[in-house]
């Protein structure tokens, strides 16, 4: 599409003039115009969390957030290392913990899981199992069909140790 830019959004430290309609969910702007593969389409109504991104450090469901309403800096999974201030080729501790614990099976939902973990660990430095379960389930759940929940809990705690 060669439409005129409608809005400027800041994603992973870079400003982008985007052409999508204001009612277009942020998800399609990120995956379409910006060709980022982190946020995934899972349900379109905020029920599963596959599309999660951070806006100013807090988790947002990009499938239900119109791009016109985005205020603040967007961080996708691709931007987590930068958010942490990781060096070239290094990862956010959450990503490293996900590798260390071999969390992903199919991996499709794990974008949202790592986003949720980054949000949680920026607020709670040493979360208990109950706090982790709550953070990944309320108010809207992060769903995993492969059932990696136990591995995610271990990885969040490992990441907390690395960030401590």
């Amino acid at each position: 599409m060669n439409a005129a830019p409608r809005k400027v959004i800041r994603v992973n430290g870079v400003e982008h003039a985007v052409t999508s309609r204001a009612d277009c969910p942020l998800l399609y702007v990120l995956s379409g115009e910006l060709e980022l593969s982190g946020p995934k389409f899972g349900c379109g109504v905020g029920d599963c969390g596959a599309c999660a991104v951070l806006v100013d450090g807090r988790e947002v469901r990009s499938c239900t957030t119109p791009v016109g309403e985005v205020e603040g800096e967007v961080t996708t999974l691709e931007g987590l290392p930068r958010l942490w201030g990781a060096g070239e080729g290094e990862l956010h501790p959450v990503q490293q913990a996900w590798i260390d614990e071999q969390v992903p099976q199919c991996g499709y939902c794990q974008n949202g899981m790592m986003i949720a973990a980054a949000d949680l660990l920026s607020r709670v430095s040493d979360p208990s199992v109950a706090q982790i379960k709550q953070a990944f389930s309320e108010p809207h759940p992060h769903l995993c069909r492969c059932g990696t929940y136990a591995a995610i809990i271990r990885a969040v705690q490992r990441a907390a140790g690395m960030m401590g």
Binding site: M1, S37, C43, G44, W98, P104, G107, Y108, C109, K133
Partner: protein, 753 residues
């Protein structure tokens, strides 16, 4: 007959040694997240070539034009599937593997033999005196690398293969090359990390959703209003509101394409509002499902008998003569695969008549054959490429996940590549599902409470009855494939209670509900899902064994041990007894009650045995007698799969599969009315959340002595259903013979007491 695009008789088609002394492996099946292909096959190849795991550095998996062997990705390692279901060509007496694992093991073993022969000539030393390690062959005086040995000419080994690419087994490599003995494994049996995981956390993995082709359009489909509706009139799109959108109609297939995904989504919604479909009612509704199954004519489909020499008259006589007889009906509902990604496909129907399809499928050649059949074109004109997607646990058996044919038809119609993404609602409403099951089970006990007779009659509509959706909607000639595969309606349970003298199981099949009545051949069609039909047969059988134990006043673990000589079953039962700190006593517990409010607690045992994988699980649950909510607090499971390729990977798969089983037991049930599926999102078809995930403990037994790799990743979902039902009985004194344990069913069961 399909002609493979690569020559499977040439070793180079399977395995290439590169100048840097690493190895690339090609196989016709891809990984779905369990690691069976992406990790385990590499370990097996590294083992035979005396290489490190890392040296098997590239895996080309699942591409009909680049990989040699076809087949299905389920049961990729499994020897008993290979022997019993694939009729066992090529089985190797010294190998614990079957299927794809057996193929690549043999290829690697032939390669190793050829490399040593070349090294012998180069080094001037007899083969028997050579040692290979890390890609270097050494004699007493010299050494040469694998890469040097193939620098001038690739290995010229010819393989003997048999089979059909599009079939479940695919091609099978014959012959019995010398292989590494199981007792000498160094790479197999270790927890090698998945090479795929770093690319997932870095987002460098090529997901199917990110396939972008020049000129590609985004497609959406407006599906019929019901599972039997036909098109009355197509709605109109406002050209000003949707300047880039184009409507495509083929028969009852109504689609829209646009260069902009958001426009395609909005246009499909607008089109749906003004498109008119005929009305149809042909389903019993999920509230009437049990009655509908009871009224089904089960005489139209094959009946299977187990054991094959089972004698119904003798078993019935033993039941009639028993000191005590137990009879019960059990019900397991329809299940959805519910992948976190609604299915999608990218198709490129090119002007030269060739068609390329990108799909997340576990049986690429079957999809290829279906698409070619639909188009009436030669197989060679269709190429299927695998790309990563969300785990769908059997949904792509027989090739297609749902949208592939629709994508091809849209691409043909508009002359451009089309990426067709189903919505969440479509994925629930238009995908095939795992068939439900109804079982009538009887056990006969003698005066001491021992089982002397056992009979089960399993009724399930025919599984893998899923003709190509797009072809059906578009009115194209239905391609071959997609007919019910009745074998799954046969007896799946691997009955281990050999000390029960009389036992008979019968399996019945039937057409899909509503299918014959649907003008578009839909109804509630079926696709196999994780432990297909086996889980549905295991639940009633194992629940009845627990009921027999209770009737005998016996502990459910000890009762099972007392009825078997199978040392692998005894092994997992004793292991889980210790792991869960099990108190030996009969169920229900002394504190069990079904009335009076408050919470009651219970513990239960479940067993699942599938293709040489043994699982014994113990669930601890709480039942809230007022709300009917069941909470699983802890789940312990002991596992014996014989030869273990990768202990950590197995542990993770067992955790995940157990979570799915708990999800199925607690929540899952497809609901539908007279016209359509009404479970169309994660609220109406809830799956387990992290908040509901119990503490989980897994113990893996070392039984490499059995020389068989049993199934590890698929069957862990079977035992939890039995364990949760047993725990419910232990807590309340009420047997729960229908799933799921949703509050409304739980309260109804408690009220009936």
């Amino acid at each position: 007959m399909s002609r493979p695009a690569v020559d499977p008789t040439l070793l180079e088609s399977w395995l290439q040694i590169r100048p840097d002394n690493t190895v690339a492996l090609c196989t016709g099946v891809a990984d779905f997240g369990q690691g069976s292909v992406g990790v385990a096959l590499r370990q097996i190849v590294a083992e035979e070539l005396r290489l490190s795991f890392e040296a098997v550095s590239e895996l080309v998996a699942g591409d009909t034009d680049r990989t040699p062997d076809g087949g299905i990705a389920a049961g990729v390692l499994n020897k008993s599937l290979h022997v019993h279901y694939d009729r066992g060509p090529g089985v190797h007496p010294d190998s614990p593997w079957g299927r794809k694992a057996l193929n690549v093991q043999k290829v690697a073993a032939y390669a190793y033999g050829a490399l040593l022969e070349r090294a012998s000539a180069v080094l001037g030393a007899p083969v028997e005196t050579l040692r290979a390690e890390g890609g270097v062959v050494r004699s007493g005086s010299g050494s040469v690398t694998y890469a040097e040995l193939v620098a001038e000419a690739p290995l010229d080994v010819r393989l003997e293969v048999t089979g059909e690419l599009a079939s479940i087994p695919g091609l099978v490599v014959l012959g019995t090359p010398p292989v590494v003995p199981v007792s000498e494994y160094r790479v197999v049996g270790t927890s090698c990390p998945s090479p795929r995981i770093p690319s997932i956390v870095r987002e460098s993995i090529p997901w199917l959703r990110d396939v972008r082709l020049p000129g590609m359009l985004h497609g959406r489909v407006v599906h019929p209003a019901t599972l039997g509706s036909t098109l009355v009139s197509v709605g109109r799109l406002d050209a000003i509101a949707f300047p880039g959108a184009e409507v495509v109609v083929r028969g009852n297939l109504v689609g829209v394409v646009s260069p902009d995904e958001w426009e395609a989504i909005r246009a499909a919604q607008a089109l749906a509002e003004t498109t008119v479909w005929s009305e149809w009612r042909g389903l019993p509704g999920s509230d009437g499902l049990v009655e509908a199954l009871l009224e089904t004519d089960w005489s139209t489909a094959p009946v299977a008998l187990s054991p094959p020499d089972g004698d119904e008259a003798r078993t019935d006589a033993a039941l009639a003569a028993a000191a005590r007889r137990l009879d019960a009906f059990f019900f397991v509902p329809f299940y959805k695969h519910a992948p976190i990604s609604p299915e999608l496909a990218v198709a490129d129907a090119r002007p030269d008549g060739s068609v390329h399809v990108w799909a997340h499928t576990q049986q690429l050649h079957a999809l290829r054959a279906k698409i070619a059949g639909m188009l009436g074109t030669d197989l060679e004109n269709v190429v299927v490429h695998f790309a990563d997607g969300a785990g769908s646990f059997g949904r792509t058996t027989q090739g297609d996940a749902g949208p592939e044919a629709e994508a091809v038809i849209l691409s043909q119609a508009c002359g451009r590549p089309v990426r067709l993404q189903w919505t969440r609602e479509e994925d629930f409403a238009w995908s095939a599902q795992q068939a439900p099951a109804l079982a009538e089970v009887s056990a006969g006990l003698d005066a001491e409470g021992r089982m002397i007779a056992f009979k089960a009659e399993h009724h399930q509509p025919g599984v893998n009855n899923d003709p190509l959706l797009g072809a059906e909607l578009a009115g194209l000639a239905p391609p071959p494939g997609g007919e019910p595969s009745w074998y799954l309606n046969k007896l799946q349970v691997e009955w281990p209670y050999d000390l029960v003298p009389n036992r008979l199981e019968l399996g019945y099949g039937a057409p899909a509900l509503g299918q014959a009545e649907s003008p578009i051949n839909m109804g509630l069609r079926h696709k196999s899902m994780r432990s297909p039909c086996h889980l549905q047969q295991n639940f009633p059988v194992e629940c009845m064994v627990s009921e027999a134990a209770a009737a005998a006043g016996a502990d459910p673990i000890q009762y099972r041990i007392d009825h078997t000589t199978d040392d692998r079953l005894i092994g997992v039962l004793e292991a889980v007894r210790k792991l869960s700190r099990w108190e030996t006593r009969p169920s229900p517990s002394a504190a069990a009650r079904a009335k009076g409010g408050g919470n009651v607690r219970g513990r239960g045992l479940g067993v699942g045995i599938r293709h040489d994988g043994y699982f014994a699980g113990v669930a601890d649950i709480t039942v809230d007698l007022e709300s009917g909510v069941v909470t699983v607090e802890r789940y312990c499971v002991a596992v014996d799969v014989g030869v273990v390729v990768n202990p950590r990977l197995l542990r993770l798969n067992v955790e995940g599969g157990s979570a799915m089983g708990i999800s199925q037991a607690l929540h899952e049930e497809v609901q539908f009315d007279g016209s359509r599926i009404t479970s169309t999102d994660f609220r109406s078809y809830p799956i387990l959340t992290m908040a509901e995930m119990p503490e989980i403990e897994v113990e893996i037994l070392d039984r490499r002595d059995v020389m068989v790799a049993g199934q590890g990743a698929e069957p862990p979902n079977m035992a939890p259903l039995v364990a949760l039902a047993g725990a419910f009985f232990d807590a309340t004194g009420k047997p729960m013979r229908r799933l799921p344990l949703r509050p409304e069913y739980v309260l109804a069961e408690l009220r009936d007491s």
